[in-house]
């Protein structure tokens, strides 16, 4: 079997930060609490998780910008701690957002600087920069100062920089954050094109449709632990059903809800209140079969409004993140 592009075993990371003038109060944050995962070469792997789950921390450890506290991580078969120097020329890192650029000089000048730090052959440097600027959609603005760029343009420049040295493995940390829908779509298209060229991609995102559209496999990280890793259909099975019912009504008794919950084909029943109205959301395997049985349990409510839909990645995500053990 080929060497995995990324393999992580029991990885932990603790941040200690000091507070106060005399540096006496130390707070420890366990950002990663034993992460295991493996990404195959050529795969587009997505990492989802709420704010503060540890996604950026994991991406930084894998891209050699942060050392793990314990555990092991290998990237392209190389140890992230001991062989960082051999990993760096072969990977690219794109951190979302506007920071990380020299804004007093042009986009092209930013790229020149990094091309030289990576040691891209002199004869290839200018054509390569022009090519990347065009590919990310900055063909016309490469010679403008970065301070004149919009947020989206800066993000595109980040992408161009991350790809300048043609990395085999690319880390994208929220690459479409703050982009308008059109730019975000272009970026996703670009990511797919890179995948077709054989680049392995490790993507973190908060956009479920983005993950669903792009990723072959998804891991959900919650409070520093991976709570599930699978394909989207696999995750659907994991949370108990392809289909989701939303049932709106008034005055449900606890006993009624308990009966619904106890039905064999039903899982993950949650309730939400909308003023006097109550919404029950539940996952089912076979909607035909279950709807009748659910209706049987709620006979006293003729006003029921029932909707059925496909279980979205967002539902799965919320299930997984909420279920997470303390």
């Amino acid at each position: 079997m080929a060497v995995p592009a990324i393999s992580v075993e029991q990885l932990t990371r603790v941040y200690s930060s000091r507070k106060g003038f005399l540096f006496n109060e130390v707070t420890r944050t366990e950002a990663l609490r034993g992460v295991d995962l493996e990404v195959a070469p050529g795969e587009l792997f997505g990492l989802l998780g709420p704010n503060g789950a540890g996604k950026t921390t994991l991406a930084k450890i894998l891209s050699t910008l942060l050392l793990p506290t314990s555990g092991r991580a290998h990237v392209l078969g190389l140890d992230v701690v001991r062989e960082a120097n051999r990993i760096r020329p072969r990977i690219g890192l794109v951190l979302g957002g506007e920071r990380g650029l020299y804004y007093r000089v042009s986009g092209r000048e930013n790229l020149r600087y990094f091309a030289d730090l990576y040691g891209i052959a002199r004869s290839e440097r200018e054509p390569r920069i022009t090519e990347m600027l065009e590919r990310v959609g900055l063909g016309d603005s490469g010679d403008r100062r970065v301070e004149e760029y919009s947020r989206g343009m800066k993000q595109k420049l980040h992408l161009a920089r991350g790809l300048l040295h043609a990395p085999e493995l690319l880390f994208l940390d929220e690459p479409t954050i703050g982009l308008d829908p059109k730019s975000a779509r272009e970026t996703r298209k670009f990511v797919r094109a890179l995948l077709a060229e054989g680049v392995t991609i490790f993507l973190t995102t908060h956009y479920m449709f983005e993950a669903e559209e792009l990723c072959q496999r998804i891991a959900v990280l919650s409070k520093g632990k991976i709570v599930a890793t699978d394909t989207v259909p696999g995750l659907r099975r994991l949370v108990g059903g392809d289909r989701t019912f939303e049932i709106d009504g008034y005055g449900f008794e606890d006993s009624e809800l308990a009966r619904v919950r106890a039905l064999p084909g039903v899982s993950r029943l949650v309730t939400e209140e909308f003023g006097p109205r109550l919404r029950i959301t539940l996952r089912v395997q076979d909607p035909q079969l279950e709807l009748d049985r659910v209706a049987q349990c709620l006979l006293g409510h003729p006003e029921l409004e029932v909707r059925e839909r496909r279980t979205a990645l967002e539902d799965i995500y919320l299930d997984l993140v909420e279920e997470e053990p303390a």
């Binding site: 910008l65 650029l101 990094f114 052959a121 043609a166």
Partner: protein
């Protein structure tokens, strides 16, 4: 889309040189430390020494030029790294395959050269203001030694810069280091006039030696360290080698430290 990637230290050095120069030119406010401040220093020194003869005036000019160079070196070594942290450019720079040491080195050279321009400005201004010709001996040696002082400054700058990479709280060095350094290395007053305890400290700094050599070479009748011009040169090279060795080994540890602590993007 394979691209030949061959990280090289000279390329990183020149890339940093080029970028620092562009950033410097893009921000005209640095005209102040590079030219206006040295002119003010120069006049102040001139006022103090103008009654005491041409040699002391020249002495004062050297001091003012040195202050200008050292101020700029500190900027290149330290402040630019804090700036990197603030801009968020420290992370991508450190994730590149070449050591950050070479980036800092490039910056220091650019900044020290702009400082040198400051020194030349001081010289020009005071020569014009002073009614007598200044007794500058052997201008060629003078320039050569001046460049040498620059290199010794850069070696100190490299070590200091490691502190800036190490922690974001390094700003105090700018405040303390700048003036302390002027005095200890004898930029302002001859080292031999300073309290006895400062001279061992002064001798730990390569620019002290180089500066004394520069004065031997350029000031008529100058009496500095008793080991004289050649002794100064040997001392400067020796201390500088120590600094470069420290920089080389410290950098590796500093990089490990920042990757452990994770303070690359705090600001």
């Amino acid at each position: 889309m394979r691209t030949a990637v061959r990280p090289s230290r000279p390329r990183a050095f020149f890339a940093s040189l080029r970028l620092s120069l562009l950033l410097f030119l893009a921000d005209p406010q640095w005209v102040i430390p590079a030219t206006i401040a040295p002119v003010i220093f120069g006049f102040a020194a001139f006022e103090l020494y103008s009654g005491s003869g041409a040699t002391l005036v020249l002495y004062a000019i050297l001091g003012a030029g040195m202050m200008s160079m050292w101020g700029q070196t500190l900027y290149g070594a330290g402040w630019a790294t804090s700036q990197d942290r603030e801009l968020g450019t420290l992370e991508p720079t450190l994730s590149a395959p070449t050591s950050y040491l070479w980036v800092v080195f490039g910056r220091i050279v650019v900044n020290a050269v702009t400082g040198l321009v400051g020194g030349l400005v001081v010289f020009a201004v005071v020569s014009l203001a002073y009614p007598h010709p200044l007794p500058l001996q052997r201008p060629f040696e003078f320039l050569l030694l001046f460049a040498f002082v620059l290199v010794t400054l850069a070696s100190v700058g490299l070590v200091l810069s490691a502190v800036y990479v190490y922690t974001r709280y390094a700003g105090f060095i700018n405040n303390f280091g700048e003036f302390g350094f002027y005095i200890i290395t004898g930029s302002m007053f001859p080292v031999v006039l300073l309290p006895f305890w400062t001279s061992p400290i002064a001798l730990l700094l390569p620019p002290t030696w180089a500066l004394d050599a520069l004065r031997y070479a350029s000031l008529p009748g100058y009496v500095g360290f008793r080991w004289g011009f050649v002794g100064d040169l040997v001392g400067a090279v020796a201390t500088m080698l120590v600094y470069l060795t420290i920089a080389g080994s410290v950098y590796h540890r500093v990089e490990t430290h920042v990757l452990t602590v994770g303070n690359l993007q705090e600001y």
